[in-house]
């Protein structure tokens, strides 16, 4: 148990202070590239010898960013922009912005004219018609273009062999994340929702190879724990982010374990490996066609809903918690049909709205307490 706690604490510390990771990498002479959601080709950054540094927002008040974005844009983008405007991300060599949702489309210009050219923006376009050959080819062409920009920043050419090696590192990390997620679901008494989230999220700020090592050790340590009965509830989460400490604490307070997820920041990012192909960039493009369960992806037939219900059944969840990122259009559109699908399947689903600028979670607490009571009834 001590080893489990020690490793979880270590990863939680990384999450609690990502800036320290950035500072350490820069001090070590390694260039860092900020990566905003969603599905930017992180492997290419890694292949170029740089550290991909996840930019998924921060728990803070955004003020300066409101000179650029109106208040009704999600906090994820507001707070990343705020950090940039305050100079907290000046050590990044560039940021990659995937132009796949309407709010993200405006991010690059707001950054460029607000933060300045010192941290350049790399726009990442990919195909919404991501499964058809023309879509894969378009995504491949755009990722190659991104690679050229990354090479210019790194100051060196990147070979296909180096990209292939980076893909292998990422696939190993994804496998480790899947194994950890499964192990955590079996040991809810040892891995709280907050600890689970932090262990996964830490990967966005660490070298993925190092993260894999920690996770594998953690999974092994969890497997060695003696069996223990869990009397609490089991839920599956869905949404963009479910990393709010206040929200996760509420789950813990109510004896609710996260036994699986369909969160963009979590499992959606590691459920599918990058196929190994002759052109490794094509493999990264193909992967995009295989990912499901994320609202920014074109999803005719709402595979997201079907996948979510299958997941809830598979892990024997008592219910689904939809962590609704406030002002996120794609999520708000998905919610209505997916809720209906869950209702039809007889799986209770609760949506709670979360915003990284929120300080008072009492409304969410009341809703979750009521939900827990219903599930226990």
């Amino acid at each position: 148990m001590n080893e489990v706690k020690m490793l979880l604490d270590e990863l939680a510390a990384v999450c609690a202070n990502p800036k320290a990771q950035l500072d350490a990498a820069v001090a070590d002479g390694r260039k860092c590239v900020g990566v905003l959601p969603y599905f930017s080709p992180e492997e290419l950054v890694y292949a170029a010898g740089m550290l991909p540094f996840g930019l998924w927002g921060a728990e803070m008040q955004a003020n300066e960013s409101k000179r650029y974005y109106p208040a009704f844009i999600c906090s994820l983008l507001h707070t990343v922009l705020e950090l940039g405007l305050k100079g907290a991300l000046n050590d990044l060599s560039a940021i990659m912005v995937s132009i796949c949702c309407d709010s993200l489309k405006g991010f690059g210009a707001n950054w460029k004219y607000g933060v300045g050219e010192a941290v350049p923006v790399i726009d990442v376009a990919w195909a919404e018609n991501r499964k058809i050959p023309a879509g894969v080819e378009f995504t491949r062409s755009q990722f190659r273009k991104v690679l050229g920009q990354l090479e210019a920043i790194a100051g060196d050419r990147v070979s296909d062999a180096e990209i292939g090696a980076a893909v292998a590192v990422y696939n190993e990390n994804r496998a480790a994340l899947r194994a950890f997620s499964a192990a955590a679901a079996r040991r809810p008494e040892a891995v709280s929702p907050m600890a689970r989230c932090a262990a996964i999220k830490a990967g966005y700020f660490m070298d993925r190879a190092e993260h894999t090592e920690k996770l594998n050790a953690l999974t092994a340590a969890l497997a060695a724990l003696p069996e223990q009965k869990w009397d609490g509830l089991r839920v599956v989460t869905t949404g963009i982010l479910a990393d709010s400490p206040a929200l996760l604490r509420i789950l813990e307070d109510n004896q609710i374990a996260v036994v699986g997820d369909q969160i963009a920041q979590e499992s959606v990012n590691f459920r599918v490996d990058t196929p190994v192909t002759d052109d490794p960039v094509e493999g990264i493009a193909q992967r995009l066609g295989q990912v499901e369960g994320c609202s920014v992806l074109f999803d005719p037939g709402k595979q997201r809903g079907k996948e979510l219900i299958e997941l809830a059944k598979k892990v024997n969840a008592d219910g689904i918690l939809w962590v609704m990122t406030k002002f996120c259009d794609p999520e708000e559109y998905d919610y209505v049909p997916v809720k209906r699908m869950a209702d039809a399947a007889g799986i209770p689903l609760l949506a709670v709205e979360v915003d990284q600028q929120m300080v008072n979670y009492e409304q969410a607490r009341s809703a979750i307490e009521a939900f827990a009571e219903i599930l226990r009834f």
Binding site: I73, G106, N110, I132, K145, F327, D329, Y333
Partner: protein, 403 residues
């Protein structure tokens, strides 16, 4: 003397006829589609496939006073009031199957295009599920440079061809490529006539009230591949030319000030937004809807690129340039920017757009909060106060210039 009906009547009748054609086709058992406003209309026009436009319905319902009622109904279905009001109106209609302000025939298929925004994709996904009809998406990725690159053209072209194949299967109608060429050239004729018509806004005074653009653009959107539309726009341009020659205008009162109006109209508050400006002698003489419907091309590859250049699909610098050029050409004294609660894409860069526009044109600007079809997001008092402030600055500048 010209015995023809005025072009604005011809355009209104044409719009009504296109809508009626869709109802008649549905009645005959033909397949009818719902279509995104900036979907390449050349495909359906050439194939003789009737389509209707939920976005136009959203605007019309808003203008006729049904926006709030329909939006609230959709919110009762679980849709957030954060979402595009056109889509909320459409979801309400889909569920209710009726709408007292305007109805459109229900679709057998959906044609989606995301060049204006990605929320179209989510909206149409939900419709496809709800109505159990096929959905075809032509994905036009947002531009990250001033021009559309060859990779994008290739990708869009592949989807264009794929869309034709799917529509042939769904409707049983075959694409005639000679007819497609003909429609493309008619569309060019319409686009050029539209550009010529709105180009007369540079005259002083402008020959027409700029708010007319909001009415006329509906046909530019839905019917520009038809000869009737091309003729109507040519007539409109001729009428404006005649007014310019005579130094006359359809704008009521003296045109004291000329402005650029940025963004979609507040359809539910159209009269108020118009009257507030008109009563102060302010005419709209520049709008992105001028160049917006100028789909200019000379072959299929250029057509693909042209659909990348619609407003909001361009990179920021191009969007800014379009507005600055339009404002300078049309000699504006100020600009009104609509922070549209429905449209995250349009609003996401609006503050920076306003700042840079002001710097590059040197004219005063205001921003007001509103919505395209949900009146709850619009405040008459705020709008009026800000227009007053703009008027004062424009007045002061005129005085200074006269000294």
């Amino acid at each position: 003397m010209d015995e023809r009906k005025p072009a604005k009547i011809v355009l209104r009748e044409l719009q009504d006829r296109i809508a009626q054609d869709a109802w008649d086709a549905k009645q005959r058992g033909e397949k009818v589609g719902w279509c995104a406003s900036n979907f390449p209309q050349e495909i359906t026009t050439a194939m003789g496939i009737p389509v209707v436009y939920p976005e136009n319905m959203g605007a019309a319902v808003g203008a006729k006073g049904g926006g709030q009622r329909m939006c609230e109904y959709a919110e009762g279905m679980g849709y957030s009031n954060d979402l595009c009001s056109y889509s909320r109106i459409n979801f309400a209609y889909t569920d209710l199957k009726r709408c007292e302000e305007l109805e459109i025939p229900f679709p057998d298929f959906l044609l989606c295009c995301n060049n204006i925004c990605n929320c179209m994709i989510k909206w149409y996904e939900n419709l496809a599920l709800e109505l159990d009809v096929p959905l075809i998406l032509i994905d036009i990725p947002h531009l990250d440079a001033m021009t559309c690159d060859a990779d994008r053209v290739k990708y869009i072209r592949a989807q264009f061809d794929d869309c034709i194949a799917q529509l042939e299967e769904i409707t049983g109608k075959k694409m005639d490529y000679d007819r497609l060429n003909e429609v493309m050239s008619i569309s060019q004729r319409s686009s050029k006539a539209w550009l010529r018509a709105v180009g007369y806004m540079s005259a002083e005074p402008s020959p027409f009230s700029g708010f007319d653009i909001f009415n006329n653009m509906a046909v530019a959107c839905v019917g520009r591949g038809t000869v009737e539309a091309a003729e109507a726009f040519e007539q409109l341009a001729d009428e404006y030319a005649a007014l310019v020659k005579e130094g006359k205008s359809t704008f009521k009162g003296e045109e004291k000030y000329r402005i650029l109006f940025e963004g979609i109209a507040c359809w539910s508050n159209l009269r108020f937004t118009y009257k507030t400006l008109q009563s102060r002698g302010i005419n709209l003489t520049a709008s992105i809807y001028g160049p917006a419907f100028s789909f200019l091309y000379s072959n299929l590859d250029e057509l693909m690129a042209a659909y990348s250049y619609v407003p909001n699909s361009n990179c920021f610098e191009k969007e800014l340039q379009l507005r600055v050029d339009d404002a300078l050409k049309n000699k504006v004294d100020g600009a009104v920017f609509h922070m549209n609660r429905s449209c995250k894409h349009w609003s996401g860069n609006l503050y920076e757009m306003e700042r840079q526009f002001r710097e590059k044109t040197g004219v005063p600007t205001i921003v007001f909060d509103g919505d395209q079809s949900d009146p709850r997001c619009f405040s008459e008092a705020q709008y009026e106060t800000r227009v007053d402030a703009l008027t004062e600055i424009m007045e002061q500048r005129k005085k200074e210039a006269a000294q």
